[in-house]
Structure formats: structure tokens, C-alpha cells
């Protein structure tokens, strides 16, 4: 593109590279820092003297972590939640998006349903009615409560994204199929879905990340720690405790805790699944988002 490289242009390049590297560095900093803390000694962590390198390197936190059965239980619940949640999302999203990607001309009920769906995204009665609903359906303490409640709130956005992607597929494809006598199911499954891998991968990734990261519903719908998904489990460890409501013996037990290094180890392990998944899906979500959202 640019043939001659002037000195100023070269300096410009270098400045940009340096800035980009610096910014990228800040993005891995939290990961790095957590790792450093998790490998440090308890006292160093309590004293706050760790910066970028472990102090008194040791593996105690990870050894302790291995004996923490609740951590792994919660990890497993989160995995279940992600698989069920993303699976359901993968099935329901294209089924909703395809009819809704039609114009009102082709599908008369389209606008009413579209606005109803949007409406559900914006209005809610708060946590208590949600809690009552889940209770009536006997879903308390079930991973399905997390899958269904959280899913219902995020699916709308995914549907919108997919609608936009579908709309950008060449109209001629569908028309040709119609001429051949294809029905809507055939068009959706044989034509649209195979062409929509980028957007479906993208909404699946969104769904995976959402279900992995969400913590509040675990706190609300699970009555016992053994049912907590991983983020809820970590959140309650990190949140501070209110000593004013406590008796002296509770406080005594509290003083034995405060385990930053173990927390760091848990946080780090909790990051791993996401770290593993997203680079592989990167290629898809770049296409999925851009094609789904912007029509130039």
C-alpha cells in the first residue's frame, strides 16, 4: 500500500507498536498478578508486598485447593449449566430468529411478536416474582433454574444478532429454494443454518460466557452452598462479612480465614475454561458480530 517509508512514518510505526504493546500488557496484568499471588506465601499476600512476581514461591494454595471438594462440585455445576444453557440457546435462537427475520409483508405477526420479545428484555417484576415462579415450578436448587432464568434474559439479544445475520444472507438463495418447492424447515436447516455458523458460534460463545460468569442467580435460587455454581461460590468467598451480627465464636472462626493466596488460586482456575475456549472461537465471533450487527 505505502511504498516509500519515510523516517517520520517509521517513528509513527514504532510509537504505535509501543502503545499497542503497553495496552495489551495491561490486559494480561490481572491474570499475571493473580497467578503471582496464588504462588506466593500467605504472609506475603497478607502484607501486600507481591507485585509481578511470586514472593516465597510455593504450591500450598493449589494443594489446599485440591482438597476443597465444594470448589470442584461448583465447577461441575457450572460446566453443566454452560452445556445446557449454550445447547438450549443454540437450538432456540435460530428457530426464533428465522421467522422474525422475515418482513411484516411475509409474516404478518412478526412485529407484534418482535416487540413482545423486546418487551421481555426490558420489563421485569424484580427478583421476588422470579423467585416465586422458580419455586412454583419446583426448580429451586436445580441447575435448570440457572439455565432457564438466565437464558430467558440473554436469549433476546442473541436472537436480535441472529436476525440481522439472517437478513444479510443473499435473498436469492431462499428464493431459489422456494421455486424448488422447499418449505420453511428445509430452508432454515439446510440453507440458513449451514451458512450461519459464524453467528451461531458467536451467540453460543456469548451464552457460554454468560452462563459461566453469572453469579447472582446462584445466590438467589440455590438454598445451599453445595448447589452453587462456581462464580457464586467465589463471590461469597470474596464478599466481606458483617461482624456486627456475629457472636464472638463466629468471629473467632473468621479470624482464622482471610486466605488471599487460596482465593487467587481459585480465581485463576476459574478463569481457565474461558481462557481455553475463546481463542478458538475468535475467528467465528469476529465474523458473527460484524455481519450480524452492521450492514454497510
Amino acid at each position: 500500500m505505502i511504498k516509500s517509508k519515510s523516517l517520520s512514518s517509521r517513528i509513527f510505526d514504532i510509537i504505535i507498536i509501543v502503545v499497542l504493546c503497553a495496552v495489551a500488557f495491561t490486559c494480561i496484568l490481572p491474570l499475571w498478578y493473580t497467578l503471582a499471588v496464588s504462588f506466593s506465601s500467605k504472609s506475603a499476600a497478607a502484607a501486600g508486598i507481591i507485585s509481578l512476581w511470586p514472593v516465597d514461591f510455593n504450591l500450598t494454595s493449589y494443594q489446599q485447593l485440591l482438597s476443597d471438594t465444594q470448589f470442584f462440585k461448583s465447577f461441575w455445576i457450572s460446566i453443566q449449566r454452560v452445556v445446557l444453557g449454550a445447547g438450549l440457546n443454540f437450538i432456540v435462537v435460530p428457530l426464533m430468529a428465522y421467522p422474525l427475520s422475515k418482513s411484516v409483508k411475509d409474516f404478518r405477526g412478526r412485529n407484534v411478536i418482535m416487540w413482545t420479545v423486546i418487551f421481555t428484555m426490558l420489563f421485569n417484576g424484580g427478583l421476588i416474582p422470579l423467585y416465586l415462579t422458580v419455586q412454583q415450578l419446583n426448580l429451586m436448587n436445580s441447575v435448570w433454574a440457572l439455565v432457564l432464568v438466565g437464558g430467558a434474559q440473554t436469549i433476546v439479544f442473541n436472537i436480535i444478532l441472529t436476525i440481522n445475520f439472517f437478513r444479510n444472507l443473499p435473498k436469492s438463495l431462499e428464493e431459489a429454494a422456494l421455486v424448488d418447492g422447499a418449505g420453511p424447515w428445509y430452508i432454515l436447516f439446510k440453507l440458513y443454518i449451514p451458512l450461519s455458523i459464524p453467528v451461531l458460534a458467536t451467540v453460543s460463545l456469548f451464552s457460554i460466557v454468560y452462563h459461566w460468569n453469572e453469579f447472582l442467580y446462584g445466590l438467589i435460587f440455590m438454598t445451599r452452598e453445595e448447589f452453587y455454581p462456581l462464580q457464586t461460590y467465589i463471590q461469597q468467598l470474596v464478599v466481606s462479612v458483617d461482624p456486627s451480627v456475629m457472636t464472638e465464636d463466629q468471629y473467632k472462626r473468621l479470624s482464622e480465614m482471610s486466605n488471599k493466596t487460596l482465593d487467587a488460586a481459585k480465581i485463576f482456575i476459574a478463569m481457565i475454561p474461558v481462557l481455553v475456549v475463546y481463542p478458538f472461537l475468535q475467528r467465528y465471533f469476529i465474523h458473527g458480530i460484524t455481519l450480524g450487527s452492521v450492514k454497510e
Partner: protein, 567 residues
């Protein structure tokens, strides 16, 4: 179009089905409530406070479980441990968990249970929840249960509060919950000071607020820990989960607050006081403005921890040896002090009845003996089971430590704290008498409502080294298992025994009607304004605006209600 109609019909059908499901559910709830109104007979004919059920019964409870706690051993769980086994063995009651929650989420779970009208058979709640539940008619009337089933020990302890405990659970003449009652020592916030720092800098323990400021200044500026760095904190401040001062609803166990400084200036924010026979709220009085001014100056000068209100846990800086002064009740050795001393055996933390007021009197605010309650669900078949569980607790609490298996006492189902009002003071005096040889341990063996005194007098020589009348840290065996308890009694409680306490009580320690809807927001206004004033984020005169706002947003109305309720 036809199909659209069908679809609409389908949706309507679905809606109807779901509504039917919901309403039938409500209907059945109503049924059970109606059944529940026929209270089980508590005529007391065969009432046995400690009797085991012939056939095992089940009670489902809400249980607080600290996720960071690792004290349970050998495969014990919050549901199956020495406490639940003890309840089963003694009373033939099976405990189930309707929910468990970490201490910071327990309130949220209780709130959801109340809101959804699906409450456990029994659980521990605070005063706000109690009122809400009484109003929602969710609770069983425990009048008969209390009269017939409360053990003599519990009755005696509750009576020692002079009616306060029972008043707080009596609605329309009915007892709607079982109150706790605790040693009043929890409500006096003494100053804990590093005596080794005082000695090193050649200072005397402070008596007045001015002297306290001088000591704090020296602690901040003169490098008392001798590491050559300017890293020491004078006076610790409340952390994110503590309060500036205890208040009439939570009147005890406030750590790292400024209770003592307020009291010494005769300011009692958060308390209902009497002024010319009329109730007034302490936070809006001129004394409080003055005290806030004093604290504001101290903060500006750096005498108070800069990070107050933000720290996750102020204990950390005490343990790491950076803090020189903090406020807290007698049991601070169970808090940060034991850890601090184990980290640095020279850290000579002593407790003082200070600061004193202008007349040289010690005038702390006093606590309510009651702050938590066991409630029983309306319609639960065995309301007396909750009472029996508590009877069993009080009767056998001192044996629990010795029982097989780990786990802190918090795992006892629906545990309430029961202690005679003067429990700690009596213990301290007893220990002193045993130490100086004027009495023998055996003299204190027969005091059943003082549950721990037996162990205390037996083990004191394990924790305390000679000379027995010198409480400095070098004369203690800090590795003893009994050190924490003994240090709490002999050092932590000493100021309560040795000084004359001219304490101030709140007129009420419970909520009135309007408070229910308004108090939380008024309290928030108060907390935020005061915190900003102290940290210098707002000018001192913001106080006047606060008083206006407070009165206008329901404060005046509440004051009237308080007047009605005390007269």
C-alpha cells in the same frame, strides 16, 4: 389469520393453565394456614422442657454457614455434626436445612423466604424481620410454648434483662418469638492500645479525648514500631462492614468504631435519649455535631486510619502490627488480638476504660441484651421443638467443646446466645480470686447459668504466668489453648470491673411502625453524611442540612411514635 387466532388461543390457554396452577397453590397454602391456626395444645400438662420425642420429629431450619470455615472434621457437615447429633440423641429431633447461607447472604435468604411466604419451621432473625413476619402473620404464637417449655435457666437469664427481652418479642400481648439475652459486656466498647508502644515512647495511657489525640499523634509520627518507615496507623477506623458507632438496633459488638470518643463528648448518635421527658434522637443533637467536628479534625490530621470505611477487614492492620489503637468489646482476643500477639509476642495489647468525659467519668453507651430471635412458622406442628432445642443448648453448652468432632458452636441449630447480663464481670472477678489464692476453683463449680466459669477457673493457671497480678503480655502463656478466653476475661473485661460505668441506655431497642418503611433510608442518610463529614468530603455544616432532611423524611413522625411507645 386463522392460524394466528389459534396461536393466540394457545397462549391464552397456557396463561390460564399457569394461573390455575398458581392459584391452586395459593389455595392450598391457605388451607395449611387455616389448619395451622388450631394451635397444638400447649396447656402444659405434660410439658417437659428437656423431654425427648417418642417418635422422631423433623424441624427444617435456616442455617448460617461460613464458607471459609474449615473447622468441621472427619466428614462432618453443617447438617451432620456433633451438635445436630446431640440434638437427635437428647431430643429425638432430626434437623433439616431449608436453606444455608454465608453470613453476608443470610439476610437475603431470610428476606426471600419471607417474601415468598415459604419460611422454614424455625430460624434466627433480627428485629426488622421479626416485625415484618408478625405483620404478615407468618409466625406461631409462642406464648404457651415459652411459659410451659422454657427451661428454668433460660427463664432466669431472660428475666435478668429486666423485661427488655420479652418486651421486644411481645406483640398484642402475645409472645411471637424466643429472644436471646447476652452478657452486657458485649456492648461496652473499650479502647485497646499497644502498651509496648506507649512504653517505648514514654507515654501514659490516655484518659481524655485530648490525651488520646496526643497518643495517636505520637503513634503516627514517632515510628513506634521502629522500622524507620512512616507506616503506622494511630486509631483504626471501621472497615467496610462495620459502623461508626453502635446504634439502638445493633447496640453491641461494633469493632473499630468511634463509640468511645462520641460517648466521652456526651454524644450518643444512633441512640434514643430523653430530653426534658421527651424522646430525642441522639444523632441530630448539637453534641453530635461537635463530636463529628472533633473526629473530622482527627481524620484530617491523620490520627485516624485513612482507609477507614474501605478496608475489607480492619483486623489485618492490627494483626500486622501497624495499628496502635482501636475500639472494641472485651472479646477482642477472639478477634485480631490473639493473631497479632502470635505474630509479634511483644505486642502488648491492653484494654482501657477511656476516653473519659469532661468530669472524668466513663460514660459509654449500653447495649440491648436482645438482638436476635428464634421464630417458628405458623402451622408447624411442634413449635415447642424450637424451645427444646434452645433449652438443650443452654443446658449442655459447656460440654460441647469437649465432645468428639470439630466445628464451631455456630453449627448448633437455631443457636441463640444466652448469658446472664454480668457473666463476664463475674468471671473476671472469679479468676482474680483464684489467681491471688483467696478462693479455690471448686468455689465456682456450682454456677449453672455461668456456663464457662467451671472451665475458666480450672484452666487459668495454664494460660497465666507469674506474677499473677501483672497483665502485660510477657506474663502469659500465649500458646495455651485457654489463652484467648483468659485474656478476654482478665484484660478485656478489666475496665468493666475496675471502673465505675455511668452508662447510657437507649429508650428503645426496637423498631416502631414508621421505621419499618423509612428507617433504612434515614439511617443511610445519617451514615453517609457522617462518614463524609469525618473524612472531610463534606463540610461540617452539612450536619444542619442532615438534621432538616432527617426530620422531614419521617424522623419527626418516628420521634412521635417513640414517645408513644415509651409512655
Amino acid at each position: 389469520m386463522k392460524l394466528k387466532g389459534k396461536f393466540v388461543a394457545f397462549v391464552v390457554l397456557l396463561l390460564l393453565l399457569l394461573l390455575a396452577a398458581c392459584s391452586s397453590e395459593t389455595a392450598s397454602n391457605d388451607d395449611s394456614e387455616e389448619n395451622g391456626t388450631e394451635e397444638p395444645s400447649n396447656d402444659g400438662k405434660d410439658a417437659d422442657p428437656f423431654g425427648a420425642y417418642e417418635e422422631a420429629i423433623t424441624i427444617s431450619i435456616g442455617q448460617e454457614v461460613d464458607p471459609t470455615d474449615t473447622s468441621l472434621t472427619d466428614g462432618d457437615t453443617p447438617l451432620d455434626n456433633k451438635y445436630t447429633r446431640h440434638v437427635k440423641e437428647m431430643l429425638n429431633i432430626d434437623v433439616e436445612h431449608a436453606f444455608t447461607a454465608s453470613p453476608s447472604n443470610y439476610d437475603q435468604k431470610v428476606s426471600l423466604a419471607i417474601a415468598s411466604n415459604d419460611i422454614p419451621d424455625a430460624m434466627v432473625v433480627g428485629p426488622i424481620e421479626l416485625r415484618q413476619m408478625v405483620e404478615a402473620d407468618q409466625l406461631a404464637d409462642l406464648t404457651g410454648v415459652f411459659e410451659n417449655y422454657a427451661s428454668p435457666a433460660i427463664k432466669e437469664i431472660i428475666e435478668s434483662t429486666g423485661g427488655v427481652a420479652l418486651d421486644s418479642v411481645t406483640f398484642d400481648g402475645k409472645i411471637m418469638a424466643i429472644p436471646n439475652a447476652q452478657a452486657s459486656a458485649d456492648g461496652v466498647h473499650n479502647l485497646w492500645i499497644r502498651k509496648d508502644w506507649l512504653d517505648k515512647l514514654g507515654l501514659e495511657p490516655p484518659k481524655t479525648v485530648e490525651e488520646l489525640q496526643e497518643v495517636a499523634r505520637a503513634f503516627v509520627e514517632e515510628d513506634p514500631d521502629g522500622n524507620g518507615e512512616d507506616d503506622t496507623i494511630g486509631i483504626a477506623g471501621p472497615d467496610a462492614s462495620n459502623k461508626l458507632y453502635a446504634n439502638f438496633l445493633e447496640s453491641s459488638n461494633n469493632l473499630y468504631g468511634f463509640d468511645g470518643i462520641f460517648s466521652a463528648l456526651h454524644s450518643y448518635p444512633g441512640y434514643w435519649l430523653e430530653d426534658d421527658g421527651e424522646p430525642v434522637y441522639g444523632s441530630i443533637l448539637p453534641e453530635t455535631k461537635e463530636a463529628l467536628g472533633t473526629l473530622r479534625d482527627m481524620y484530617a490530621e491523620g490520627l485516624i486510619d485513612r482507609e477507614m470505611g474501605v478496608r475489607e477487614d480492619s483486623a489485618e492492620s492490627v494483626i500486622s502490627g501497624k495499628t496502635g489503637i482501636f475500639s472494641g468489646p472485651f472479646w477482642m482476643p477472639y478477634g485480631p488480638i490473639t493473631d497479632a500477639i502470635r505474630q509479634n509476642p511483644d505486642a502488648n495489647w491492653q484494654s482501657y476504660a477511656a476516653p473519659l468525659d469532661a468530669n472524668g467519668d466513663y460514660t459509654p453507651h449500653l447495649m440491648t441484651p436482645t438482638n436476635s430471635y428464634v421464630v417458628v412458622r405458623k402451622g408447624y406442628e411442634h413449635p415447642e421443638a424450637a424451645m427444646k432445642i434452645l433449652n438443650n443448648l443452654v443446658a449442655h453448652e459447656s460440654e460441647h467443646d469437649a465432645m468428639e468432632g470439630g466445628g464451631g458452636p455456630g453449627y448448633y441449630p437455631i443457636r441463640l446466645v444466652y448469658a446472664p447480663a454480668d457473666e463476664m464481670e463475674v468471671t473476671t472477678v472469679a479468676l482474680r480470686e483464684v489467681l491471688d489464692g483467696t478462693k479455690q476453683p471448686e468455689d465456682f463449680y456450682d454456677m449453672p447459668s455461668y456456663k464457662l466459669i467451671h472451665t475458666d477457673v480450672d484452666t487459668i493457671f495454664d494460660a497465666k504466668l507469674e506474677p499473677y497480678d501483672n497483665m502485660n503480655i510477657e506474663y502469659w502463656n500465649i500458646d495455651s489453648n485457654h489463652f484467648t478466653r483468659a485474656y478476654s476475661a482478665l484484660v478485656g473485661t478489666a475496665p468493666l470491673v475496675d471502673s465505675e460505668i455511668k452508662g447510657v441506655k437507649s429508650l428503645i431497642y426496637y423498631q416502631t411502625d414508621t421505621m419499618e418503611s423509612r428507617w433504612v433510608n434515614l439511617k443511610k442518610l445519617e451514615d453517609e453524611t457522617f462518614l463524609k463529614i469525618i473524612t472531610g468530603a463534606a463540610p461540617l455544616d452539612t450536619f444542619d442540612q442532615f438534621v432538616e432532611d432527617w426530620k422531614q423524611q419521617g424522623g419527626d413522625q418516628i420521634t412521635e411514635e417513640v414517645a408513644e411507645s415509651v409512655n
